[in-house]
Amino acid sequence: MIYLQLFWSFLQVGLFSIGGGYAAMPLIESQVVQGHGWLTMNEFTDLITIAEMTPGPIAVNSATFVGIRIAGVGGALVATLGCIAPSLVIVSILAKVYYKYKGAKSLDSVLACLRPAVVALIASAGLGILRNVVFSSNALGMQNVDWVGAVLFIAAFVVLRKLKWNPILTMALCGALGLGVNLLLHGLPG
């Protein structure tokens, strides 16, 4: 049963993530965090962080990570299969159509309308992650602001946007600074 659920959830991720890269992220969040509660928002954010630091598509990384945590190695296999199954079917059909007709203008035009929607969905998922970074609990209030996280975010955003720093380097530095500043502020844990 859990195998079927995993397969079905990641099938939807594979089927509706169009445009690559981050396009899968809002779909994974809606399935895994909101739909089934398989991961908390914090675990999901960790997953995206890990996916960003390791090779491989976010969808395949997430399918493996979630599958193995929910149902072991079998879970990882069915979830990954679910996430590539739509590609296998659709890409092979479109490849045949493509070689027959060369250049599908109508498809491009439909995709042109999807693009702004995908940008909006990624923005929304990104803001969800940002909220998780800036507020240490679900309640939004000044007393719950994680100032270290907020300052790190702003600094990282500026160096990425203005100085075009390498994303992986920026994230690694954020990790190191997060550790250093928290140790300075709160002392050794425990």
Binding site: G20, P26, L27, G126, F153, A156, G178
Partner: protein
Amino acid sequence: MKAREKRRVKTKTLWELFAGMLYISAFTFGGGFVIVTFMKTKFVDEKHWIDEQEMLDLTALAQSCPGAIAVNAAILVGWRVGGWLGMAAAVLGTIIPPMVILSAISFFYAAFASNPYVAMVLRGMQAGVAAVILDVVCSLGVKVFKGRSWLDIAILAAAFVATFFFKINVVYIILASALIGIGRVLWMKRKEAAK
């Protein structure tokens, strides 16, 4: 004799497809387009299995289909070079490295994340990943606004409000914008026909 030789060549091609994708997938950080670039170097420039223009078309196709660009590109190149078996070899080569790496990480994650030092590092990195994603969003968003198409801007705004404030399922938002896209194609065709 000839048939056997042909089969041997075929097995060699399948193996090269699998090993090539395995290598590329294990060492490529940074998403679909980076991996497609490496695939071009390997299969177009080095092996001459596909010509450059066709690789560009396959990339565009991989990008327009649902799913991960890397997997889609592997399906197309594998199918083009070695038929159905080639497709299987290329896809397996593409997904095995991330599956192995993420399995290992998820195995250690629970112990890892409860360590207070690791938790601090992860928390800092979360701030970084939020910045990376919102930086990408800004670049993509600027492109949409620069296009000066009111329909695109309206779709962006409506999709954002629907998902962020009303928590409408992402799938419906994608389906709705695809329908708008189909509607626009039909309307343009009618306008052309009327001319």
